[in-house]
Symmetry: C2
Subunit: 503 residues, 2 copies
Amino acid sequence: MIDRPKPILKLRRLGIDTYKEAVIYMRKDCHVCRAEGFEVQARVRVSLNGKALTATLNMIRNGMLEAGEAGLSEHAWEKLGAKEGDEIYISHLPPVHSLSHMRSKIYGHALEADQMDSIINDIVAGNYSDIHISSFLTACAGGRLSGEEIVSLTHAMVDSGDRLDWGKDLVVDKHCVGGLPGNRTTPIVVAIVSAFGLTMPKTSSRAITSPAGTADTVEVLAPVNLDVPAMRKVVETEGGCIVWGGAASLSPADDVLIRVEKALDLDSEGQLVASVLSKKIAAGSSHVLIDVPVGLTAKVRSMEMAEILARYLEQTGAALGVGVRVHTSDGSQPVGRGIGPALEARDLLSVLKNENAAPQDLRERALDLAGHILEFSPDVKNGQGRTLATEILDDGKAWVKFQSICEAQGGMRDVPKAPYTHVVAADRGGLVADIDNRRIARVAKLAGAPADKVAGVDLHTPVGANIEKDQPLFTVHAESPGELDYALGYLEEQDDIIKIEEV
Amino acid sequence: MIDRPKPILKLRRLGIDTYKEAVIYMRKDCHVCRAEGFEVQARVRVSLNGKALTATLNMIRNGMLEAGEAGLSEHAWEKLGAKEGDEIYISHLPPVHSLSHMRSKIYGHALEADQMDSIINDIVAGNYSDIHISSFLTACAGGRLSGEEIVSLTHAMVDSGDRLDWGKDLVVDKHCVGGLPGNRTTPIVVAIVSAFGLTMPKTSSRAITSPAGTADTVEVLAPVNLDVPAMRKVVETEGGCIVWGGAASLSPADDVLIRVEKALDLDSEGQLVASVLSKKIAAGSSHVLIDVPVGLTAKVRSMEMAEILARYLEQTGAALGVGVRVHTSDGSQPVGRGIGPALEARDLLSVLKNENAAPQDLRERALDLAGHILEFSPDVKNGQGRTLATEILDDGKAWVKFQSICEAQGGMRDVPKAPYTHVVAADRGGLVADIDNRRIARVAKLAGAPADKVAGVDLHTPVGANIEKDQPLFTVHAESPGELDYALGYLEEQDDIIKIEEV
């Protein structure tokens, strides 16, 4: 065997954050590039400490790296557990066989279960670039996944990570197919359902593109960054919890796929079904209620779309041995009054405490959902769930349960208030005809939500209200004057986020 | 109007080469990220000197940038004509409307001509990320483009760049649908055809994944980096030229799409037809001959695939007013003897000079193609082209013409020789049954081709030859002992790149 120069380079930390993309930075003139024939943008294998990942090669042309050195993007650095000066081994990428299955799907052939497994495994292992993932998602979109393929995709995604087991036959969960600002029913539902005695170990996400995720909102009131053992302890004593799902490795394939779907702004039913159900099944649920708000500026825009989605969800759930019930709801306007973590937390507390001023739409929605979930219990007859849920909320049991869950998660906190606010008033009188969910959410984000917990928008007039000229429409909340100005600057450029019609 | 902080940063050159991806590097804590709410991997608009482009945002976490500074990838730096210390303006990306057409295609709707135009225009303007381009290519692959869509895609790609006009009715061209090492007929064909008196302004590509492109090979013999005015001068005096097409902006959309197609390893007929014809039409051709080598390790693997492709090429050509003729040829083994720029240049010179040792397969292929092209002329009857081509080659007119083209392009050069060579001999006697096109090309690349002109592989035994044990099979050529060792190291790991069967 002829000796070849060893493809080893010494690491220097460059501190470049590329989000979840693994990038390796090497000098164009380095001995590894020359010997291995690597070109810029090549996908290469990087090994260190017995771990390995696939990275995209970027070339450094100037003195940022010394001869014999390489850099890694922060994501790759952390994944490999690298330290300054560590020696990494760089090699050609072994062929990714599942890409041929993907190409076969592009040419219209259905994917077998084992082919779907190998694609998802390669995606989780980081063997697909974003270009490959985008192609896979596109090949599966537009109704090109059969019912069987959706089942095998969901299976493969569950198998790609850990799966929790609560040692019970009945473990309930809920999920909302997004798109509605302020729709923070989950903490109320968990309080009611676990006060009744069902097991509801709820993991929630943080906001990705919205002004607040459930995890962001609950974090205003209690810690949510619990690992699986800590979560288990809360559920054992309280029956329910509301924690951030990111600490557990549940359906990690979903996180990768969602990132690329967002860039494509593509929501295919098949991916959506697999995404939702794989997370719930991995979290150990036996019964799942899925809330689908339907409205022109919500994610699901028509009842027809909602029905197709419901059928896929129920069929896939049945194939995977999970009871799925789909509930459609009004998605025409924001729910509650606040948009943003602290404002939404204020709203849900007000419902739990049965305050007179509590937003009734949030209360009614939470009761609808809790009622359906209670009916998963063999002890609750169909049609009785909502009455039962109302009793548990009205007599204060839900509020007591919510406080003990918060204490069990690490201690309950007060809701903070924004130091800077600005009231936006109506420029004419009339009927509030429409509130644009997407643009009002954007105002809340520009004001600093969800990173600033207190930032957001507080709505004062629901759709259908009659208002006078100069009556307050909403208040923008921010943590700094700069951010407040920034949100107001955007507002000045917008017409009719809240549409007022002459009566 | 409320004052907002100006989204301006000062440029520092970081020297990071990301190939053709535009990346902007900003500090996480910079005032622009905070004010505009930019997240890592966001797509943002960067403006300088009246130019603008869309870039992907990477965050810098350590001291590589000072407060108020930003960096750009080299591609973006060059495209904006940036200088150290220039002030760039960063803004949100305006919505890319054509993405909705792309999504509509994903959902199975045919694209109208104006929708195709807007997609291609946005791709050329850099408004699509690689994720978007991958999705567009996938949505169009697998036979999902109709004949009409292929026509409008080709139209849109032609319109995306410049279009040359030679002021003549008959302008001929050829193209080979790749995949066959050593198949360097073009320079011979151009010499014969322009010696006859036809206009053949040939632009060729450099190698992308092969050991040599036509431009790399011709560059061994004469300069090929001619701009359009220089090319025009050569064609006016000589009738033909053989230059690198990269200097002219012909079908720039094609260059972007091909880069992502390579990463996907996806060749759909529709894209291939649009890619080939858009380049030829933009180059001002009226008649195009397309050579399609068919073989198990060539790009087109069956006659059936070749026929489908031929039909699309001819129909699309007809719709765009260009005469297209498709010629299928044997794609079962490499052509000529040499693989790599200098070795291929040696082979084609030997054919042009009518040397006894000239590779006959290269000669015969060049005559086939030149014969077909001559028949595009109204003065040549069908069936007479090949005889005419043979006369022009045999009586030395083609060789004289080739030399004057080389002189007109900047001066003819001698073929250099490799300082390091290694002969690989047969480990047993028998019949040469097969040569693996793809792996023998890889050996040539590992030896340094095409960057090192002298590097490559010289084949000594064609398929069908009877050989003795220890008889030389091929010689590896390299410019340095390290690269020679590297190619030999790969060879040691391979079985049967040249398959020898017992007789």
